[in-house]
Point group: D2
Chain length 254, copies 4
């Protein structure tokens, strides 16, 4: 039995540090690497890619709206031609750096506002799907588990990876508890680890209302942007492996 | 007998237009396409790449210092790690867009201040050479004819293309007349076309002092940033082809 | 009798040119000068301000979302703290440059997507109003004639200037014909000039359905981004002045 | 007896944190606030200005080359028109935000590569001086103690503040030990505090060769970019005030 752990990396920018890439590369099997549009400068990205390659971690392009100061977290009504080309540009840039690091880009994960928006917006979702296919149709696409995007991507023929979030609460319908509501974010590493074990074993999570809901996830997203987050991610990994579950990239899984 | 004509393309940015890419793609055999650091946005670059592909024009990555507002024309003392990664990033981004356009990147040409500086600066030249090799060692590198960089690139094993400038005056030692001196820039299309014919035929140009100097050029750079420049480029092409010289990419030449 | 003519200026950026500022400064009484967020670099803005000062043209800050590549034309869901501070930053930057040019900023006009969005969005409108008041409550605010923003700005105590668009069609309710519908944009300079004379004289325009609708405008926006646009703007000015109407800034009018 | 302590603040950018502004505002009398060209986004700058205003800390514009990814630490050969206008733009932007924060900009301090370069480069120094005078000739200019710039600024009529660096070693001629040489940076808070007491009391520092050298400094620059740096800055302040020296802005000193 195996599952993937993914995390956002390469998010430093110039003189500014973010996250502990070294620590997280020892935890995850998949690294969503920033491509310069919401975070990441070329030299920093290359360094992260080299570390990921050395650790055998699978690499994904963490593509975003072009919004450094907003960290890609603001909705932006990009025209299709702009969005498609921007996604292609970012994937290509990361492919170039990955080649220089002796590795390669295996999948794409949209970031921030783009991630949330295309989970349900058909037009921009189609743009991202078209962009991925235009560069390399063998790339995987990581999406919110149970989202409309999952269906669209699969129909388009993309290898589609549905992901759950380790530190987020779920509602009875399998959707995430919105961030402005109680129970949206979980803070106890042990509880989170136990939840993710249940997810990996049974394909279920316990929702905020106590009901048990099915969440079919190929990957679990863990964060590394604070010391507490790193600890939680490590605890999730320990718990899963202690239970005999292999942490392995979805791209390596058969 | 054949020679290459190259020009800088894809230099529009967002709402701002620059140059007449459509006209120039009918003139040149090689397109130095901006990669977003001095000019070019993803959608505009992709459009230029599609046109170039349709015309069968060979594509190069016109890499630059990161300086949009300065159009890459200002010297910048980038550290080696930053310069190398920035060049790799740009080549990769263009490769991604080229793949989406059904074509591919064949060579690299440094732009503006980077072009001029690495013509003689060993450290930054080594950085650019290392970057090109790290992405794809089969890429050509376009350099100033007779520059120190030509030697360094060749020693490093890169396919090195030396280029002359159609509208620039030369000194008796084969170097360009500096822009702040008389005779630096030529304006008469007929005279320029005749000079380039001599260059292609005999491998010589007539210097500002009247002497005839050897310039071994594999390619001629023509500009397209004004209606007059386009006319001059067209005249150069007409004159060369009228004389039986084939305009052909250096990457296709045996 | 007098009216104001305003136009967007200072929209070149680095090596890229846009518009004919010199020509337009001879036409308009108010210059909406870009502040660097959608267009304009410091040196270019300063040059435009110097020309405006020399011509006695009133200066406004043309504030925008931070989106150079999108020219400020894309909606962006900026948080209030970010939007307020960004508007203040832009006004301040233009004030600094205006001081250096021997003139000063008299009003603010939101640009592009921000202009259209706050015409009806109460939250972002409140942010822009708060920003203007925080810098200088004596600044005017130029808004779409008849918009909700006009009311909000007036209630907030700002000197509020309602503007009409010379080259746009109007509907029977006084709103603009949307750009994707027939009659949205007018192209005949004579017809446009005649319409603006009617607007200045009678406070009415003829709508697309032939009805005459009241549009209370303190200012008319004319464009200068193409030779045809400049000609149209000149024609509007000629027609108004020939009829005895004085072209004068709303900030100078009593 | 009094002296000024200054530090670089407002250097966070979007989602990225840098330094501990709150802690440093309790230590210094002058805050060099980033203006968005090397660091600082509008909302973050405004927050820092509000805190500085609340603490009664004097505010300076920390102007830089336009180079976010390089944090303004890379030399850039900007043309005079561009450099002047860029400095004016930054001062103006900060003035706008300072007004909104209920305070005002009192001085200018060049940052990073610009600081080091204009300490000895006459052309760019003249550009910065001209820019400051064009916005507000009553602004002070903070410069490296003993630099050529100090003389140029004073000749130009600017109120010129010479500064020493708390954590840097000096050579027998009063210049800083270059960063790539032993003794360039000091790490012991007690030793640094004792040195700065000597500087404030006697106007001297002990150079790396043991000689006592005169350094006439109106201000001492302390850093706050790490917990250790904050501790050192606090220790310098404590030592000076314990000895009866008042920490006071040079702009308030008679």
């Amino acid at each position: 039995m195996n599952i993937d752990l993914n995390s956002d990396l390469g998010e430093s920018f110039g003189a500014w540090r973010m996250g502990d890439d070294a620590a997280m590369l020892a935890v995850v099997s998949s690294a969503n690497v920033a491509c310069g549009f919401h975070a990441g400068d070329p030299a920093g990205i290359l360094q992260t890619l080299r570390s990921a390659a050395a650790q055998g971690v699978c690499i994904g392009a963490h593509v975003s709206y072009p919004d450094l100061v907003g960290f890609g977290r603001r909705n932006m009504d990009m025209a299709s031609a702009d969005l498609q080309a921007s996604v292609i540009y970012q994937i290509g840039a990361l492919q170039g750096l990955a080649t220089a690091a002796g590795t390669r880009v295996r999948y794409v994960k949209p970031h921030g506002a783009l991630y949330n928006f295309i989970a349900h917006d058909a037009r921009q979702a189609a743009d991202v799907i078209a962009a991925v296919k235009a560069v390399d149709p063998s790339l995987g696409l990581v999406v919110l588990a149970g989202s409309a995007l999952a269906g669209w991507a699969r129909e388009a023929g993309l290898r589609t990876i549905e992901e759950a979030f380790a530190d987020r609460g779920y509602r009875a319908d399998g959707s995430l508890v919105p961030r402005n509501q109680p129970g949206a974010v979980l803070h106890d590493p042990e509880a989170v680890a136990a939840r993710m074990l249940q997810l990996a074993r049974d394909g279920t999570v316990t929702a905020v209302d106590g009901s048990v809901v099915r969440v079919a996830a190929d990957s679990i997203c863990v964060h590394g942007d604070s010391p507490g987050a790193v600890t939680m991610a490590q605890r999730v990994r320990e718990r899963l492996t202690a239970d005999g579950i292999t942490i392995r990239s979805f791209m390596d899984a058969a």
